[in-house]
Symmetry: C2
Amino acid sequence: MGDQRFKDSVETTLKVIGGKWKLVILCHLIDGVRRFGELKRDMPHITQKMLTQQLRELELDGIIDRKVYTQVPPKVEYSLTEYGLTIKDVLNVLSKWGDQHQQIIPPLPADDR
Amino acid sequence: MGDQRFKDSVETTLKVIGGKWKLVILCHLIDGVRRFGELKRDMPHITQKMLTQQLRELELDGIIDRKVYTQVPPKVEYSLTEYGLTIKDVLNVLSKWGDQHQQIIPPLPADDR
DNA sequence: CGGGATCCCTAATGATACTG
DNA sequence: CAGTATCATTAGGGATCCCG
């Protein structure tokens, strides 16, 4: 299991969906199409810059689609690509693990860690 | 799926095993006990400081065990705790996904991205 | 509304030297 | 061998202003 190839694959995954925001963004897109403003509203802690930036990177990696409606005011919709849908398995496992972890090792009280 | 609780659980996971190194370290521990020097040798890019630091955090989160042999020269062994073994599912899914990704979106040639 | 462009700061990481 | 301790560096991220 822990051989070189296995490790390389994990590192590849980290490069693509690692970081502070990408998986969270994908959580919001997993249920369907979302507008930029919706994403921003549902993630109060992310800045506009970060959101834009991370969306671009996900788009470049073929995970999400960006559809621009040329109208005033502008409207941009984001959604998972067919390939991006494969991320569901990953999200499910991560969510399940985090869920267990919270029960076994509860977060420190009144603290964000 | 993409509800608040789901998202929170994913974020919890990211806090515990997120970052650049922890999952890679766990890859090496998944096959069994490893000494500090072995880990360092098998991860040429990590610095001693980072390795120590990340190991401490994993220990605090109950994922790995640290066994110190009081002898000269010193000997310290790291291994997954029983609870830490639950990380296997996560690693498998991440490795599998990264493996597919490499085939579909091959890394840029002669570049580290 | 959905950005882009700047400036700026800090937390994370690295390099290096030292030690029980 | 398995770490500390310290200093230097950098990348990630935030605040703000501007724009079609």
